[in-house]
Homo-oligomer: 211 residues x 2
Amino acid sequence: MSAPGKAEEPKEQRLTEGGRRTRERIIETAAELMFHRGAGGTSIPDIQAAAGVSASQIYHYFGDKQGLVLAVIDHQTDAQLARQRPLLDSLDSIEALRAWCDTAGSRQDARGCEGGCEIGSLAGELADSDQSARARLVSAFDRWEEPIRSGLARMQARGELSEHADTAALATALLAAVQGGMLLSQVRRSSTAYRQAVSAVIDHIESHLVR
Amino acid sequence: MSAPGKAEEPKEQRLTEGGRRTRERIIETAAELMFHRGAGGTSIPDIQAAAGVSASQIYHYFGDKQGLVLAVIDHQTDAQLARQRPLLDSLDSIEALRAWCDTAGSRQDARGCEGGCEIGSLAGELADSDQSARARLVSAFDRWEEPIRSGLARMQARGELSEHADTAALATALLAAVQGGMLLSQVRRSSTAYRQAVSAVIDHIESHLVR
DNA sequence: ACGTGATTGGAATGTCAATTCCAACTTGGG
DNA sequence: CCCAAGTTGGAATTGACATTCCAATCACGT
């Protein structure tokens, strides 16, 4: 589920088992299409065809397109975090940080560097035009950044990382490197930029190691 | 045997003085709208109304919407680089790097952190869906990264930066930090993430200084 | 002044998307 | 078994958009 947010869902409707599955299928199909063509570039008919559902079903479960987009954001956030676990929960060593960043790089290579970050792409498209989407994206990035900061904080508590290091700022910098690196890699169709970007920040974190 | 219309050379047409101005006005208006609403979110009628031109004029000068988008990419690239000069041409000291990044941060604050990077936003939207747009974006980022690398190379040539420093990689990392930092700042509506991201990378570059 | 090509207005066309509607069908609990 | 609520299909509506067309001006070289 999503983070403890204040989602104002007035219509708490009961779902049949079949209904739940249909709903899931719509979200997953929409997420896939929107990852490649963007939210604006993905039409309801596109989703209908790809998921094998009728228009009524989409509007029944999500109200309107914006509702579906919000659901997709949450789904991608959950999926992204789930996929990165358990690595994400033990980012308390330089090697762990490198390994974690590396899996993302390999994943990027595997798909030929097409598409960037599932969340970052939606963020760039929706941050300015849809306030409720932006709110969820804030939450998404917070949930993503937290485990990084937490890992650094543990290193610091253990005395491995200088007590002067600003773990929150370093975590933000690393997340930014991931996002920016992904964008450059997507444009250049090469994961090199991504690897150089995250490597630089991790090197910098490394410079805060004690002794 | 249809000619693989890979690159239909934009037929060199003669422009009247008024025509040139109309063309410029369309590009600038479109760039402004697309910056806020994205390329896909900006319709030809939108541009018509904002620029005070008729549909014929847009199609006369750009062929179709994609042609206009390409022109907008080039325009934003030129505008971006021009705005950052002369700072961009003297990035050969840590202070210069910080000052350069700071102006972008202030600019971001000045607009309330709405909108990200003029080029980066278009990149995220178009990299996967429009190959000719992607090609221009590759060129845009290359033109942007070059002055950074060049400045670092000068520092290195002067013996200020370690000879082991990979100036190209560092330049890429800094550009990625700018992009990723802008994205996070746009979502969070605070330039803090941007400042932390670029600061981390510049600190890292600083660690390569020969003492 | 003339004529060719540049420029412009504005309506017309065809497509497609978002959303609504309603009727039919299913399911689960009492 | 029976009803209310959940679920689905598919047509209909409405509007916007990209693009085309044609006819009218306008600018400039000769």
